[in-house]
């Protein structure tokens, strides 16, 4: 039999991986309008409960690394780098919050805050994360939904 399993399985694996990356990892298309992204990145509406978990998770949003959030006071260690997020929904529209999460540099020039759904302008990204965004489009929608619940100063 002429079948060479090594080559074939390698090629197949490559195809599967490439397909996976193309679907899941790269940033979704979006349009910036008046300092925000008015249109949701996904068809599925954001879920604030999931968004809360993404915000806490150190490998995902890790919002608490830099921001304090009273609503998350059951979690230890809130950062002091950025402003507290309490009342974020009263200061920003949903569209603005979406852009801040996707790529805060479009809103605050030179900010330390990473862009959570962009690969723009990155430098020497580790292979494991190359071409990938920190948060998926759905994660972004969920976090935005959670931020929209922060309506008390």
């Amino acid at each position: 039999m002429m079948f060479k399993p090594g080559i074939w399985s390698g090629a197949l694996l490559g195809a599967v991986l490439t397909a996976g990356v193309a679907v899941a990892a790269g940033p979704a298309d979006y349009e910036i309008v008046d300092g925000g992204i008015p249109k949701a990145l996904t068809a599925q509406p954001g879920n604030a409960e999931n968004g809360r978990e993404v915000a806490i998770n150190r490998k995902l949003g890790n919002c608490l690394a830099c921001h304090a959030v009273t609503k998350l006071s059951d979690q230890p260690y809130h950062g002091e780098i950025g402003p507290p997020l309490d009342g974020a929904a009263t200061r920003w529209s949903e569209a603005e919050l979406r852009l801040i999460v996707v790529n805060s540099k479009k809103v605050f020039e030179g900010t330390m805050m990473p862009g959570f759904h962009t690969t723009e302008g990155l430098n020497r990204v580790a292979e494991k994360f190359e071409g990938k965004t920190i948060l998926s489009a759905q994660d972004v929608e969920d976090v935005v939904a959670f931020l929209m619940t922060l309506n008390e100063e």
């Binding site: 260690y77 780098i81 507290p84 990155l122 020497r124 580790a126």
Partner: protein
């Protein structure tokens, strides 16, 4: 090893509680932090050792040479200092004698310009030069326990001496400038530069960590996280991994340049090796 950091944790809880009380985030610099005047041209007005950012328990461990676990490595280094190795049959001590005299200024003045090789050399690279060129011995791997032990032993001889690197020699200024470029370059998926944390936010909590100025005067350092002593370049790699960047190699020109620049940022701080950090 078990280290009691409970009071430190309480302190951080208190910090979080204050924040949650609605106060604006402010550097939590305690009034009793020991500061030193920054060298000329430095972006900050005062420089502070990483020691000052640690809990009293961690500081106490560093302060006691019998408790400080880093001395296991220093002791190993001392043993190697007196042990012949290589085809020349020589030990460090055969040429350099008593390290407490011959090495007294080394830890404070390295990295240093190496005219012969037309580049700076740090303690680790100098040790390997001695081994391969003078002793006829094999170079040690950068992060080997022998290298860490010897570097720790050598730098410990300079404890208390102010960092005093000479940037006027050779092309040291150019290497320093290259290191400065790296310091302000944002890296990785998290897109962060050294300066984002260690210049703009020292004294602030980043989740459970209190950010320091990222000074190098305590290296090689025992890190509780590592459960061992590591080199400065290992720390650089750790930072790059954390921001999800492709790290440079330990001993690379990039990390050496960054080491030269960090030495400048810490000119005047006393050498603290072997320090103890989180």
């Amino acid at each position: 090893m078990m280290f009691d950091v409970s009071i430190g944790k309480l302190g951080r809880w208190a910090t979080a509680a204050v924040l949650l009380g609605g106060l604006a985030a402010q550097p939590a610099l305690a009034g009793d932090m020991k500061t030193y005047p920054a060298p000329e041209g430095h972006p900050l007005s005062e420089i502070i050792s990483g020691y000052e950012f640690r809990t009293p328990e961690t500081q106490a461990l560093q302060d006691d040479d019998f408790e400080n676990p880093a001395f296991l490595w220093v002791d190993q280094g001392e043993e190697l200092w007196n042990t012949a190795d290589g085809t020349a049959g020589k030990a460090c001590a055969d040429c350099h004698g008593n390290a407490s005299e011959s090495m007294k200024m080394v830890g404070a003045t390295f990295p240093k310009w190496d005219a012969k090789n037309n580049r700076p050399v740090n303690i680790e690279l100098q040790i390997n030069q001695c081994r391969t060129e003078q002793m006829g011995a094999d170079a040690w791997k950068y992060e080997s326990s022998e290298m860490i032990g010897m570097t720790s032993f050598v730098r410990t001889q300079s404890r208390g001496e102010p960092v005093n690197v000479d940037f006027s020699e050779g092309d040291m200024e150019a290497w320093k400038a290259k290191g400065k470029d790296l310091y302000y370059t944002r890296f990785g998926q998290l897109d962060l530069a050294c300066s984002n944390c260690h210049e703009d936010n020292y004294g602030n909590q980043i989740r459970s960590d209190l950010l320091s100025q990222g000074q190098s005067n305590g290296f090689p350092t025992y890190r509780l996280k590592w459960q061992g002593v590591g080199t400065l370049h290992r720390r650089f790699k750790g930072c790059m991994d954390q921001v999800r960047a492709k790290p440079y190699k330990r001993g690379s020109d990039e990390f050496l340049a960054l080491e030269v620049y960090l030495a400048y940022r810490g000119v005047g701080l006393p050498v603290e090796a072997p320090a103890l950090r989180n």
